[in-house]
Symmetry: D2
Subunit: 367 residues, 4 copies
């Protein structure tokens, strides 16, 4: 058997640990392993790849890579084969479905099965390819921790760890300058990183997409701290956090071009909270910093288990499934159940309750 | 209501985060919080304590301590009140049961309930005190991760993280010196730390108490690496790992006084593997290094959830229970079900299977 | 003898290590040590301080603080006593000289000497107080490393270390997204942090205040990398870096309101480089993150040596001096020689030559 | 021009940064760069090397390696060509001088010059090769920081940083267990690591080779802490620290076979201090942990400057010199002046004075 690995979507610490585990586990099955560079571009656009577009992966190739960030398979953010961007002669752009072509190229290489490592989008592509006859097993990847059907994925723990270290560092400077620091972290649809890093870092307010926030409530919590002699505050906000209905327009109006100019919720909160509290506010945007770095031990173990489980699934003749962590053991779920579903923070979880009980402002008026 | 906190047993990163969470959550209940210094010695032997034997804990007292290792309640390794050591006039030692005295002192302080943070031993003491009428809620603490009924506890993730960093560092020196490095980690009854840190750190062999090891198998795996041109190996061993039946005596005999002199399994393996493989071996014992340090973000969150859940349990009128993490939510289990039970690594778990599939030698002949 | 310590200016890792060293060294002299909270506000505005405005510092008080970021003396960024801000009845602001009042309050407390820890501004204040008769020894503090007459100060090494870790992390995400990442670090007048962190982190371009940059040169270096198949680049820029003469206006014009809206050079470069290279650019501003955190071992040692040297200087009867690191030994320099002088990166140093020889673009056309 | 790089002696963080800098700087000179694997074994014993014995080094080969520990040139601890070990037919070992053979192999490869990165021993070899006609420039490498004529080298700062982190971690466990922790660090002839890590980590006693220690003094300092209510102590000891004259035999006698069995000074101190103080003592040996890991930013910058300076020296026609850091600029010193000289901690330095002034016991009776 000859299997190929593809990594797609944004960068996440642990990708290399998955690749290493797939290669080592495949080796014990007596299978041959290949890596497709730059998403699927190693097959679709080999001339654009730096280095070999498709590379043989052996235990020597993956030696020691488990501790490294990034992916040895190159850029992860390449064209979606189902909607591949093409530039017409007149300069206009369009999208074409290159799935059949991809499957042809895949078979021409003698590949029998695909391990696709990626997020929501990659799983949808994987499912399409599977429906067209390819043997595919997916491995979930999302720093945001928002993929459904899996208790966690790799990358999240590393991201939370580094975000927490950054918040730790911001405490003293917020304190010594009597400032409000607004720390924006990743999390477009789910607030896992903000909630966990905010709690771990001792944030005073945490704003997540699952709980629309009331700016007045946040400002009041800062004022209450001031009145108690604590002249600094730390607000952690997920990039996808939203102000309460009526306020949303207000916020947009108040920020006027500001919102549109700066884009980020962090910068908008810096602006609004300064106006509401009369205090110096500073936004720090961690986004790009959270995708890199050596994976945490936790993420390396999860990534290794996912990689080995993908090979196990293929050895059992499975296809069209994604490996997933349910409770304490790895299992598989159909790819068709994964796509388009987002795992959000349950607002009635004990973690959210804990945040409230620690006195953290979550932006709403609930006690 | 006036509640008291006691921390017992060995040090674990996250103790301060538990204390902080209990204090903040109690504050919101309108309760008063006190800390007993040095286990129960703040009550039993106040004159021996450095500083106040019993200290009022307020949100100010616990400000910022969530990120600190150790415990603000002082030494954790003091006398067990059920078997308190006393020195007789003739110099001989004996043990007395001071539980009733302790409860008297506890009530004299006006304390209504106890939050006891500790391991197996502390939970047994807590259960005894509860049976004598004290309102008690336990919080599990074990770096080894071997307490039953809870999916994980705080301290373990930090310990695995640091052990992994140490193993990462040892790779290059093992490699450049063509050596076998034997890394001994904590884990008297369960091999969780060894298994997780070994997998995360890319160890070539992992020896845990759950799988008795055959020295010849370990030596063969090192020889096989040598034959393949890899002249170094990393062996991670839990302090409680055991050689197979017959070999145990052999090991003791071969090591002669060595075993007894050096005590640790790491030093014994250094000695035996050098003899069996003819290679330079070096043991590194991480034990003491794994208990300290700032808790990881994961441990801070779990510790905070445990602390808040303990207050929640008291508010609900519970007693004689330990808070525990079952799946993704915190619950409680009766203290009577916890004591004397050890959660060991299931040898049929996917994590163990993954280790084998990655080609890691687990010391047995199973494929 | 009774001495007082004041810390001023921005936060810097190592401040607590200085305080600890002063207290321990003073203890051995048999002196009493006091800390003035919030710069000089502990004396000038005691009612505004959280906690005791002036605190007795003993070996117990400073136990273990050497490893902590921030300062136990509270906020560092308070009023300059020479130009203290006052609000008139009509709401307008003015500045008054409260130096004599401060000296009176200082003497009323029975203080014999002052150890002033701070940057350029604090040293100027210290010199003024000295000229008015106070016994003063200064301790240099500048994360930017730009104080003259001292080879280095504490805080810089920690800042460079964390900036490097951030740059390390950005490599993989820049790489996998084919982006240009612009990393803005502190350094208003001197490019020490940018130069050192940029070299350590493997930046492709480093822009410092000492070398006015030509945007076209930077864009060309990015294009050259692209042509060689490296589709990502990392540009590290000091906050005080400046475009070449004519370009400066161009830059301001092109950025129009952009410059003024965003302020930072990082955001402006993101804007300009995207326009010039046609590539996706993203700015990451590290400023606030570089002041916090546990000091590096290097900074703790330097800070301890400075603190002990300050006490040694006082014991020798010195006043009006700042302790400084010249070569490998600590000495003292007159405060009058320190104020108003900035130590910039020598453009003919071997470090700058090394950067060029490693192929790093410094923004100019020099080979 | 075609130059070759060899790395020798023990592992040190920063070796890869030197290699990278040499390659990039040579590239700008238009030179070709080659790496000799496994010390000089890539030339002398190519069949024994894993991978290519001599490898072409290009900017692509060294891409991103500056942040990695170890060396891409393989094992550093191989045969000294001046005294190469050979096994006779009868099994006995002997040493032969293979220097001329090495130079022949070197020339046969078309190499014009050698950059030799290593410690004392490697510099002596380099000088011999130079005297036999080879063009050689040395780059100093010693974690112990004890090479003469250079203010510092790479590797030391990383080792001190990690040792300090370990000491930080041991504080809480020493504290909570009322123990004496003895931390043994590298430093056979010079106590730089012990002194710096001990000061940074807040050790209570530091024992270095430069100051013979009196065990009674160390025990008294621990007893004094106990009397003051501090029931734990941390002793940092360099592996080469020695007891005072008469005591040395006493120590050996008391430890009997213990010394010989355990070898290390740490284990002996654990034994002796337990006997003298009646307290629980535990030794932690960090040696092997200090050579690995990603180099600190400081070490990466120094290593880069050294590598670039080596190429600069060759371009200027120099040979028989070692690059060195004197003050703030890199220069060169003749190899003949380097060999056999050790830079020890000056006992009259302000750093040693600071240690005493902080109340750290240095093992002698000097105040």
């Amino acid at each position: 058997m000859r299997i190929a690995i593809s990594t797609g979507g944004g960068d996440a610490p642990g990708l290399n640990a998955v690749i290493r585990a797939v290669v080592l586990a495949a080796e014990r099955q007596g299978w041959e392993c290949w890596g497709i560079r730059d998403g699927y571009n190693g097959l679709l656009e080999p001339a654009q790849c730096l280095g070999e577009p498709v590379m043989r992966l052996t235990p020597e190739t993956v030696y020691g890579i488990g501790a490294l960030g990034g992916t040895i398979l190159g850029s992860t953010n390449r064209g979606n084969p189902l909607r591949y961007p093409v530039r017409h002669a007149d300069g206009s752009m369009a999208e074409v479905d290159r799935a059949d072509e991809l499957i042809g190229l895949f078979r021409a290489r003698g590949f029998d099965a695909l391990v696709s490592v990626g997020g929501d989008g990659s799983m949808a592509i994987a499912e399409s390819l599977c429906r067209k006859g390819l043997t595919v097993v997916g491995v979930p990847k999302t720093i945001d921790n928002d993929l459904d059907h899996t208790y966690t994925t790799f990358g999240f723990d590393t991201a939370v760890g580094f975000a927490t270290e950054c918040i730790d560092r911001l405490h003293t400077t917020a304190y010594s300058q009597h400032r409000v620091m607004v720390v924006e972290v990743m999390g477009r649809y789910a607030g896992w990183i903000a909630l966990h890093a905010g709690m771990a870092g001792g944030a005073h307010a945490i704003l997540i997409p699952e709980i629309p926030f009331d700016l007045a409530v946040v400002a009041e919590s800062i004022a209450a701290r001031d009145a108690a002699g604590h002249h600094h505050s730390l607000v952690v906000v997920a990039e996808g956090a939203q102000a309460l209905g009526g306020q949303r327009e207000l916020l947009a109006a108040a920020g006027a071009g500001h919102a549109e100019r700066l884009g980020g919720i962090g910068a908008r909160l810096e602006h609004e909270l300064a106006a509401l509290t009369g205090k110096e506010c500073r936004a720090v945007v961690l986004g790009h910093l959270l995708r890199g770095g050596s994976p945490s031990a936790f993420d390396r173990v999860v990534a290794s288990r996912f990689g080995a489980a993908a090979v196990r699934a293929l050895a059992q003749g499975q296809s069209g499934v994604m490996v997933a962590l349910g409770g304490s053991e790895i299992g598989t779920v159909p790819l068709s159940e994964v796509a388009g579903r987002t795992r959000r923070v349950p607002v009635d979880s004990d973690t959210v309750a804990t945040a409230r009980e620690l006195g953290i402002c979550l932006g709403d008026r609930a006690a």
